[in-house]
Amino acid sequence: MRSVINYIKEILGGLRTLWAGMRITGKYFVRPGEIVTQKYPENRNELTMFDRFKGEVIMPHDENNQHRCTGCGICQMNCPNGSIEIITRKEMTPEGKEVRVIDKHVYHLGMCTFCGLCVKTCPSDALAFGQDFEKAVFDPSKLTKILNQPGSTIKKDVK
Amino acid sequence: MDNSTLRQRLEELTVNAVYPVNKQYTEIIIPAESYHEFCSLLKNSQDMLFDYLISLTAVDWKDHFMIVCHITSTIHRHTIIVKTQLSDYGDPVADTVSDIWRTAEFHEREVFDLFGIRFRHHPDMRRLFLEDDFGFPLRKDFTDESRMIVK
């Protein structure tokens, strides 16, 4: 007789635990308030990322198209996977002194692992992280960007 | 027991052993011939009982290889670094300790895979990650133009 009682108790115990699980899923089924899906393409304009979000490396330019990059190449040395190339050129200053100026700050987004070493080690804080994350392109050559905009010059107060 | 008593105990055990300076753990370099016997002594002697091999790896010093084992005891909570030198750089062979600690079998297969050091009486001496014709990447003289960008 003992085994029959255990048998029935076992069945009822099992059903109780199954019902406990079903109560949880049932609770979420009837509560649409908890739905977490983000309707991405529709909520594009009011979707704001966190301000420190590492979308891509950019070189901020102020209103009269000036940036702070001196072309020193420290970020190129510090980059672990060679995704930054600095191309500099000689330029004559009005006083006649020859000085090295940044020509093209090539940035391979395809190879960048967003480790943040370039932004951190730049002596003149020329680089920053942009918040734009829509980076999909059809042809990989578009992933190579020139960070300093054409016709931009260096800011005055930068060393 | 702490490093100093462990040091005397080790000196009683072996005669020709070198003790390099190490601030954290006791370090001992054992000649290759008595490496296997010393390890089984570490494992079985009652007052030391080194039963948990943390990691077994190798270092390529350009003219010789160094097998490095970090072993600790889960009972006495002391740790030791046992090293042994393989002077034959061309075809390095060492004794296996996989019969003492089972986990050594896979660490040794990884060392064979990346360094080319073969272990005698190893139950399953096969490469672990790479194909058979790949060469031994972690050796200092390993070059591979297609994959390695030398900065």
């Binding site: - | 039963d51 970090h70 889960t74 790479l130």
Partner: protein, 375 residues
Amino acid sequence: MQEEIVKNVILGEEDDYVINMGPQHPSTHGVLRFEVSLQGETIKKVIPYCGYIHRGIEKMCERDTYPQIIHLTDRMDYLSAHINNEAVCLCVEKALEIEIPERVSYIRTILDELNRIASHQLWWCAMGMDMGALTTFFYGLRDREKILDIFEESFGSRLLHSFNTPGGLMHDVHPGFQKRIKEFISYFRRKLPEYDQLLTDNVIFKERSVGIGVLSREDAIQYGVTGPSGRASSFSCDVRKIEPYGVYDRVNFNEILRTEGDTMARYKVRISEMEESMKILEQLVDNIPAGDFTAKMKAVIRLPAGEFFQRVETARGELGVYIVSDGNKTPYRIKFRSPNFSNLFIISKLAIGFKIADLVAISGSLDLVIPDIDR
């Protein structure tokens, strides 16, 4: 049509019924291949093959300076990325004998515990899905989103956040850091009992995990199975207790040990470890000392010649970082003792005699992350 015979090196007997689980298989959590020889449904022998995602991280580290290694260790055990980075940073700081500010240790320990909870949550999702309960995957991910928001707000990236550098942190945490953590703790305290009702007490789950894949304490020590999998068979290997780093010595939490050593024990250890991590967070989140977020470091970090070893407790076990330095800015040789590497090979001993469905359950309970095995 010429039948080319695919030469398949089968190490078992000739007439075995051998199936390949992997490298593309829904329940191997990555590119890992099990060669399973079967007798009907019961398993006779399991041989794991790895190496499909071997990137040669140790070789790459030999040409990177110490701050540059951080972005590589992120990608080893990507679920406890922060703890991996902290291991390398602690090893470098120990080698240089520099004193890091109190604030850095506090923040690092808080982020370790957050990372551990996030990793255990994802383990719980994958374990439920492997057993067939597909809904648990979404509940776990929904709760994990809260932690990833904390990470994203402070570091800018959710999973692989190279936030640690030798000497301290990249930049200070976001002002809303503590508030979000408190919100998360109160939110997750309400959701954790649901995890138990959904899976732990479920009679089907109990049937499929109690007494499956029993790991004895001797085997755990012999095979070096650490972390929750080892502690489920009473092998006390919590590095936070043996060699405390960060502020673990000033925080009281207890190490979860169970004796049964089967799949259910490994499951329960991780669930109660989530509890412990939340207790640690509660003790730390209110008293983060002020101070700067990094020690004064030279531009180029050169370790003195010698060898340094640092053990750290990641979400899956004990990670050892062994750096051999010959004095210049890149390490001469670096070896990562990865927890998953030792946890993997025990499966060929655990799964003998059980069914295919149990092999999936056992490998789910061992919580393997494959890039950490191949490095």
